[in-house]
């Protein structure tokens, strides 16, 4: 008992103050890309050619954050003259097209489905479905329940049954062998229901794009309301997405 108390004392209070204050993230973190529209076209083309995810449109000078895994190859190749990744982790969007970005993003709170805020703003129950996920997206969703993030303080919880859920949170490139289970879970959620796509795999197939064993993106199967990009999205990216979209 004494040792329980001693440890409790040592651990102290650990919950972050987000969204009031943004916690510091280590400088090598790669968040929202900054794009220099005046970059040398040959450099832009070199970045597009080297991108393993084919996420760069050299003509438009945009990056598709739904395909991007934030590996930073383009930043290196262009020596930051075309792309540099910022420490901004607030990168979720309500539309797939907004993920194709020149570095600017619309305010997530002003999405088209404002009625969700009234319905779910005070209580939001989530059912997570991993459909081919590599366990990184899953882990960084799970971590939201730990004391540092403490998701429950916002009235948001992960629940065991889809019957108790308002939304499904999908991770992974939707493997063929999980498609039916995913659809059945979706059907089991009472209406109105929300679909949240977490991670580049879910949005576009991620590193597995082109495989006949995965879907080319969750949108080809279900209507998606919220897109949270990353490989995996930082827990704060997930938290921002949920709070800004529903609160």
């Amino acid at each position: 008992m004494l040792s329980v108390l001693k440890n409790r004392f040592e651990q102290g209070y650990r919950t972050c103050n987000y969204p009031k204050e943004k916690p510091a993230v280590f400088p090598r973190y790669r968040g929202r890309p900054h794009i220099n529209k005046d970059a040398d076209p040959s450099v832009v083309q070199a970045c597009a050619d080297a991108c393993p995810q084919e996420a760069i449109d050299a003509a438009d000078k945009t990056i598709d954050m739904g395909r991007c895994v934030f590996c930073g190859t383009c930043e290196r190749i262009s020596e930051k003259t075309f792309v540099s990744f910022s420490g901004d982790f607030e990168i979720a969007t309500a539309n797939r097209s907004d993920l194709i970005t020149d570095g600017t993003l619309p305010d997530l709170a002003r999405h088209a489905k404002q009625h969700f805020k009234k319905l779910f703003g005070r209580s939001l129950q989530l059912r997570q479905v991993s459909a081919g996920g590599c366990n990184a997206c899953e882990a960084d969703l799970n971590v939201l329940a730990t004391p540092f993030f403490d998701l429950a303080r916002f009235g948001i919880n992960f629940v065991a049954s889809p019957r108790h859920a308002d939304a499904i949170v999908v991770t992974g490139p939707v493997s063929r062998n999980m498609k039916t289970a995913l659809l059945q879970t979706y059907e089991a959620v009472p209406e109105p229901r929300v679909v949240i796509a977490v991670g580049s795999c879910t949005i576009t197939g991620g590193p597995f794009y082109g495989s006949p064993e995965v879907a080319p993106g969750l949108e080809s199967i279900l209507p998606v309301d919220l897109f949270i990009p990353g490989c995996p999205p930082h827990p704060l990216t997930n938290l921002h997405g949920l709070l800004r979209f529903f609160k």
Partner: protein, 501 residues
């Protein structure tokens, strides 16, 4: 004197030098090695100029390789020697060939075979998994069946678990995986080389470094790239950080499963602190983007090294205190001890690796036996435990947490310099083979890379430690209360996607 060729971990071998034996002597020799205590590292089929061939890598105190022509049907090796069991099933599924007399010829991941051959399982793959397969059933009064998954209650990956129980007692657990199958090996063979690092990093996200290292080392061996000492040290630190984050997370989750909530919450948070140290180093909490053929993409400059050191100094006593809290609690001991026992004998027959194997007395650790990167210079203690239960699996993890902390501290004592690489994929030499092994946090990860006569990838074979260990979990559940399933599951914490590929 064996007909098999001794090879080194991460060496380059011209394929012509790998003994190509008549099938009968291949079979006899492989059985002989494994029956005398050897283990299977790799055993797979591949197509070479229209011909189907087998290649195997076995381990005794060294690695031994040989191949042969693959017959359409062959007398199953599993009948005589259990460690071949899943490998033969995988071959049957991937190439539509049949090990005759295999005691449990069931599909592994549920997909069409790679060459359009007749399906040995009689499956119609437009139907849902598990297809044309009846689970094992137990009949009788008071017998009941519990089916769980693929979607589980928690935020975890999918898989199906079928329990045959009498009352609360589990007679048999059958685990059906494959829901996560993404076609990884086919992609690795066919995609443009620039996609290779990202694919291997994402085979299993919690083992990004383990799989990433196997890929990088295989490509380096084939292309003759040298890696400087600094990069080797950074890679070693990254692999140990991965081990720390996962072991600490699992020890916390084990406490959650026995309702000891304080350490569950402390370790939940501290696990995140270690993930953040991977982010400190590589910009990603799982180390994605750190490893590329030729070295690492991020250095360990003095500023990062100091922050890393400061954080470890701060976290180490917290970790030690929480470990004390867990392992001195009688309530924890009461639940962990004797629960889900896997005997040393069974562990050997199943070929368990990593902490699960060590908890059943098998001391094998790639870091000691076939060291890569900086492990040759480190003291990696042996961690075998005799009891094979949840307690033993937790103890192995505790010991490894403390050892990893010490290893990292010893490595960041002195300045580390490296020339960072961007890691453009080099061209590979023709007709070559490299096999790499690393001790990731779940155990032995191995990749085998074969090139054809033009230097293109002929076959890329991936083996996650979970491929060995899922049957260990099924064995642990025999005669165990079904309510202890979560506890046992967490003590192994195996990878679904690493298995499903």
């Amino acid at each position: 004197m064996t007909l098999f060729l001794p090879i080194s971990n991460g060496g380059r071998i011209p394929r012509a030098e790998v003994p190509h034996l008549p099938f009968d002597s291949f079979r006899e020799e492989a059985l002989d090695i494994v029956k005398n205590g050897g283990k299977v590292v790799q055993f797979f089929a591949y197509e070479d100029q229209g011909e189907l061939k087998f290649l195997t890598v076995l381990r005794t105190d060294r690695l031994l390789a040989a191949g042969c022509d693959a017959p359409d049907t062959w007398p199953s090796l599993t009948c005589e020697c259990e460690p071949f069991h899943l490998f033969e099933r995988e071959m049957a599924e991937q190439f539509g060939i049949r090990p005759e007399g295999h005691p449990w010829l069931k599909m592994v991941r549920y997909h069409e075979n790679f060459r359009g051959a007749a399906d040995p399982f009689g499956n119609d793959y437009t139907k849902d998994i598990p297809g044309n397969y009846d689970y094992y059933q137990v009949a009788g009064d008071d017998i009941h069946e519990v089916a769980v998954g693929p979607v589980h209650a928690g935020v975890i990956e999918p898989g199906h678990f079928r329990f045959n129980c009498i009352g609360e007692r589990v007679l048999h657990l059958e685990i059906q995986l494959g829901y996560q199958h993404r076609g990884v090996e086919t992609l690795l063979k066919n995609v443009t080389p620039k996609r290779l690092p990202l694919l291997t990093e994402n085979i299993a996200g919690d083992t990004t470094i383990g799989h990433g290292l196997c890929m990088a080392q295989a490509v380096e061996a084939l292309a003759g790239l040298s890696v400087d000492d600094g990069a080797k040290i950074i890679r070693t630190i990254a692999l140990e950080l991965e081990r720390l984050a996962n072991h600490i997370g699992d020890l916390g989750a084990l406490c959650m499963d026995v309702a000891f909530l304080p350490p569950a919450n402390y370790f939940g948070r501290i696990r995140g602190d270690f993930l953040n140290l991977s982010l400190l180093l590589s910009g990603n909490r799982f180390g994605k983007g750190l490893l590329r053929p030729g070295g690492v993409r991020f250095d360990l400059n003095d500023e990062v090294r100091k922050t890393l050191n400061d954080r470890i100094v701060e976290l180490k006593p917290q970790v030690e205190h929480v470990l004390d809290l867990i392992f001195s609690a009688s309530t924890v001991r009461a639940r962990f001890e004797g629960c889900g026992r896997v005997s040393r004998d069974d562990a050997g027959h199943l070929g368990l690796v990593g902490p699960a194997g060590r908890a059943s007395g098998l001391s094998y650790d790639v870091r000691r036996w076939f060291p890569t990167e900086w492990y040759g210079y480190l003291k990696v203690p042996e961690n075998p435990k005799p009891s094979g239960d949840v307690y033993a699996r937790a103890l192995v993890r505790r010991d490894e947490v403390l050892q990893s902390l010490e290893m990292i501290q010893s490595l960041i004592d002195r300045p580390v310099t490296t020339r960072v690489v961007e890691g453009r994929m080099p061209t590979l030499p023709p007709d070559s083979l490299s096999v790499t092994l690393n001790e990731a946090w779940r155990g032995e990860v191995s990749h085998a890379l074969l090139t054809d006569d033009t230097g293109h990838i002929l076959r890329y074979k991936v083996k996650d430690p979970s491929f060995h260990n899922w049957n260990g979990l099924a064995m642990a559940l025999r005669d165990t209360g079904i309510s202890d399933f979560p506890l046992n599951n967490k003590s192994f914490n195996l990878s679904y996607c690493g298995f499903d590929l």
